[in-house]
Each structure stands twice: as structure tokens, then as C-alpha cells.
């Protein structure tokens, strides 16, 4: 539950338990923000008089009757309990009655108990909101930094490739060897930066907020189209067997694209020249499956349980190509965010098949 849900429940529970006509949760806010109404039940938030006096923030204050000027218009009596947690005053829980029936001491006790419970929950929700903000700004920073890193890196790689392909004149053998080493190091940096970008993007909160119906066929198609040049360059056949109908899932387009670009990109990367990568789609009543199968180096059985762990790379993958071990952990995180699952079958030296299963949006008649 987030802060506003916690506050809403607390206010409505207080009104119910105290047989009051209205209730409100007031939170003092941080040093820079003033006091605010976190929840109002049975009364308009704007109608509540806000006090931010020093004594209101005093954590030792007991439950007290509210003075007339502290009541919203139309109410005759009110009771306030401090919301305190860990020696800190977070705010106050108010209940209001429109009839002039003062609260009894046992009612004050009940409000006190409710306020103590509520304060602990509010403190937890506040802490969680704070952590989410920190996480979001961290992800944002990594995104910006990674873009800034990518750009000069791509230029350096492009220039070195020109030298290696002889466009800057003939190279001696030692020169070619040195430039090939430089090129290899730059390629590694590139994969590191790309994976960091994926990692940051998969954790950015805006990705979760932008979830909408996305057509899986198009997402898979885009990934294949974008990676086709890479497959051609390497001499790996990239084959897509599309599904007969458009199948939508609830996801963010960017996130879904990342899943398939990663899986198809990996398949090309770990398949030697002359091999084949096949992407197929199928569906059942409720699910859509996308299979990315390659004839590549495969994954040793002992590496399979660790495959989706951050930074883990199978020993044969380490020998075969540069990488960071971030990509698949990001893929798994995204697939699970969209309520799907990912499975892998592999035989070392023969190939690997990744299967992504996602719940399909809306029922269709066609089946493969």
C-alpha cells in the first residue's frame, strides 16, 4: 500500500470506530514542505484548517479535544491523536462529529490505539516512497550517463573499423594486431554500456507506468528487423515464422522490445557463422509463446540454474564472446513484470531455446 492508500484506510477506520461523521489524516511533511491533508473522510480536504504550530509537532502531546477554530465548518466537536513513530511526530489523526456529543475517555483511548498503529504503517509507507524516489533518480542518472558514454564510444569504434578495413591505408601486421586489440576492448566497453542502459531502463518507474496493450508480433518483428544486419554480417540465418493473428499483451512497448532485442541479439551472438536463429510464435487460449531457438554453442547443464543471475556468465560463453551477464537478468525482470515467465532448454554444442510466455490480452478464435 502506498502512503495515500494507508492514510485513506486510517481515516475511514477512525471514523467508523469512533462513530464520527468525518475523519482526517494530517501529515506535517518534510522540512521544506508544510503540513498537508493526506486523507479526508466525510469532509472536503480543503475545508480542514491546517495548524502547524510548534506544540502540534510535540511528540509528547496526548489525545486532545480540538478547539473550535481547529474544526472544519459544520462540525461541533472533534478529537485529535498524535501520529508518532520512533520518537518523531509525523502528523495527527482527527475525528469530527457534527452533533455536539463530546468524545468519551474510552473513545479517546481507542483513537490513541488506532493512531499508534496507523503511525507505524505511515512511517513504513513514507520510507518506501523515499526509497522509490532514490531508486528512480539512480536509474535516471545511469540512463543519462550511459547515453553520454555510448556516443563517443560508437565514434571511436567506427574510426577503428575504418583503420582495420584499410581505409586509412595499408597496415603492417603489428599495426593490425594492435588495432584489433583496441577494437576488441572497445566492443567489450560497448556491451557493458548497453547492458547498463538496459538495466537502468528496466528499473525506470516510467516503464511501469506506460503499460498498455502492445502487439507482440510487431515487437518481435522490430527486434528481428533491427538485428538482421548483424546476423547477415556474421553469416547467421535469422528466420522469423510469424503468427497468424495480431496478439496483444499488457506491457510497455519499450520493455517488450528490450526483451526480444536481447534474446535475438544473444542468439546471434552465441551462434557461430553458418548457424541459424529461428523465432516462432504460438498461442493457446490464454497465453502467447515466443521461442527464440539457435544452433549456437549451448549452455552447460551446471550453468543453467545461474543463467538469470546478474553478472553471471557461463564458462563457454566467456570464452566465446564478450559480455557482462546483465542482459538475461534484465529480460527475466521484464518478463515477470508483465506477468509472464521465461524458460530455457539447451544442450552444449547443439543450441539453446528460450521460451517467453505471456498472458494474452482478450480472447481470439485463431490457434496455431
Amino acid at each position: 500500500m502506498d502512503l495515500s492508500q494507508v492514510s485513506d484506510r486510517l481515516a475511514s477506520a477512525a471514523a467508523k470506530v469512533l462513530e464520527a461523521d468525518a475523519a482526517a489524516v494530517l501529515l506535517w511533511g518534510g522540512a521544506e514542505s508544510g503540513p498537508g491533508v493526506a486523507a479526508a473522510h466525510g469532509v472536503a480536504a480543503e475545508a480542514l484548517p491546517l495548524t502547524d504550530s510548534r506544540e502540534a509537532r510535540d511528540v509528547r502531546l496526548p489525545v486532545a479535544e480540538l478547539e473550535q477554530q481547529a474544526l472544519p465548518p459544520g462540525f461541533a466537536t472533534g478529537l485529535a491523536a498524535p501520529l508518532r513513530h520512533d520518537g518523531q511526530s509525523l502528523g495527527a489523526l482527527h475525528v469530527y462529529r457534527s452533533r455536539p456529543a463530546p468524545f468519551r475517555p474510552d473513545e479517546a483511548g481507542r483513537l490513541q490505539a488506532l493512531a499508534e498503529l496507523g503511525a507505524a504503517t505511515i512511517a513504513l509507507a513514507q520510507e518506501e516512497a523515499h526509497l522509490e524516489r532514490v531508486e528512480a533518480s539512480k536509474a535516471q542518472f545511469i540512463r543519462v550517463a550511459t547515453h553520454e558514454l555510448r556516443s563517443p564510444l560508437a565514434v571511436a569504434q567506427s574510426l577503428v573499423r575504418n583503420v582495420l578495413k584499410g581505409y586509412a591505408g595499408a597496415l603492417t601486421d603489428p599495426q593490425r594486431d594492435l588495432f584489433a586489440r583496441i577494437s576488441g576492448r572497445l566492443d567489450f566497453l560497448e556491451s557493458l554500456v548497453n547492458d547498463l542502459l538496459d538495466l537502468a531502463a528496466s528499473r525506470a518507474p516510467e516503464l511501469a507506468e506506460r503499460e498498455e496493450p502492445v502487439v507482440v508480433n510487431s515487437s518481435v518483428g522490430r527486434a528481428v528487423l533491427l538485428l538482421l544486419p548483424r546476423a547477415e554480417e556474421k553469416g547467421v540465418a535469422l528466420i522469423i515464422e510469424p503468427c497468424c493473428e495480431e496478439l496483444a499483451v499488457r506491457a510497455s512497448e519499450e520493455g517488450l522490445d528490450r526483451i526480444f532485442v536481447n534474446l535475438v541479439g544473444n542468439a546471434i551472438k552465441y551462434t557461430p557463422t553458418g548457424g541459424r536463429v529461428t523465432v516462432t510464435m504460438s498461442r493457446t487460449e490464454e497465453e502467447i509463446q515466443v521461442r527464440v531457438a539457435d544452433t549456437g554453442i549451448g549452455i552447460p547443464a551446471e550453468a543453467l540454474p545461474h543463467l538469470f543471475e546478474e553478472f553471471y556468465r557461463a564458462p563457454n560463453a566467456r570464452r566465446f564472446a564478450v559480455g557482462t551477464g546483465i542482459g538475461l537478468s534484465v529480460v527475466k525482470e521484464l518478463v515477470e513484470r508483465y506477468h509472464g515467465r521465461i524458460e530455457v532448454e539447451s544442450a552444449e554444442g547443439q543450441g539453446t531455446t528460450f521460451t517467453v510466455t505471456l498472458p494474452v490480452l482478450g480472447a481470439g478464435s485463431c490457434r496455431l
Partner: protein
């Protein structure tokens, strides 16, 4: 000799593109911004435009391609609508882009992935304009 207009604000990237193209007999001109591209296009009348999608100027590569490919018959660039556009980009930054010669979303003919491999670049250029 086919003429190619490179639109990129990074002089080093321009150099990486220019080398293999000139070595293969293409005549290369450079525009450092989207505005410069739209001006030069009338003077040079290129056979192909290589456009960087991520320029940090007011008119991005994205906007330039939309302007050039505007379906409006009254468009001031209507005469240049047919010029093929090769967009320079990075897979990781464009995963959500749709593209195609007549797509409203990103009207380009093909992509070149960054970092640029000179042989791949030449293959794509030849496929679009020969030479």
C-alpha cells in the same frame, strides 16, 4: 558520381562515414545540423542522405526526415521527397521506433547501426543508390 549528404554534428563520426564512401567514388558533402541539411539539399541535390537521428541541435534527424517526407503536395520539400534516407542510429536507443519509406512514424529507407562498420555502410548505400 553519386552525391551523398551526411548530416551529423560529430566531426569524428563524419570522418568515419566519409572515408569508405569517398574511397568508393561517392561525392560526399556534410551538413552539421538539420537546418543546414534543409538548406544544402537545394544546392547539392544529393542522391542519398545519411542522417544521424540523435543530433543535439534544434532540428533533429527525426524532424528532418518528417519534413522531407511530408505527404503534403504543397510542401516546400516536395521535390526532394524521393531522395532515399539512411538513418544512423543505435539499436539500443531505437528499440521502439517504427520505420519504413512511407511510414508516418519514421519515414526512412534503412538504418545503419552505430558503431558503423564500413562494409555494412557501403552495402546499404549500394542497395539504395547503386555505385
Amino acid at each position: 558520381m553519386p552525391k551523398i549528404l551526411i548530416v551529423d554534428d560529430d566531426p569524428d563520426m563524419v570522418m568515419a562515414l566519409r572515408m569508405p564512401l569517398e574511397a568508393n567514388g561517392y561525392e560526399v558533402s556534410v551538413a552539421a545540423s538539420g537546418e543546414e541539411c534543409l538548406q544544402q539539399i537545394r544546392v547539392i541535390e544529393p542522391d542519398l542522405i545519411i542522417l544521424d537521428v540523435m543530433m543535439e541541435t534544434t532540428t533533429s534527424g527525426f524532424q528532418v526526415s518528417l519534413q522531407l517526407r511530408s505527404p503534403d503536395p504543397e510542401s516546400e520539400y516536395a521535390a526532394y521527397r524521393h531522395i532515399p534516407i539512411l538513418m544512423l542510429t543505435a539499436i539500443h536507443t531505437t528499440t521502439s521506433l517504427r520505420f519504413g519509406p512511407d511510414e508516418a512514424y519514421l519515414p526512412v529507407d534503412d538504418f545503419v547501426d552505430k558503431p558503423v562498420d564500413p562494409d555494412t555502410l557501403l552495402k546499404k548505400v549500394r542497395a539504395l543508390i547503386g555505385g
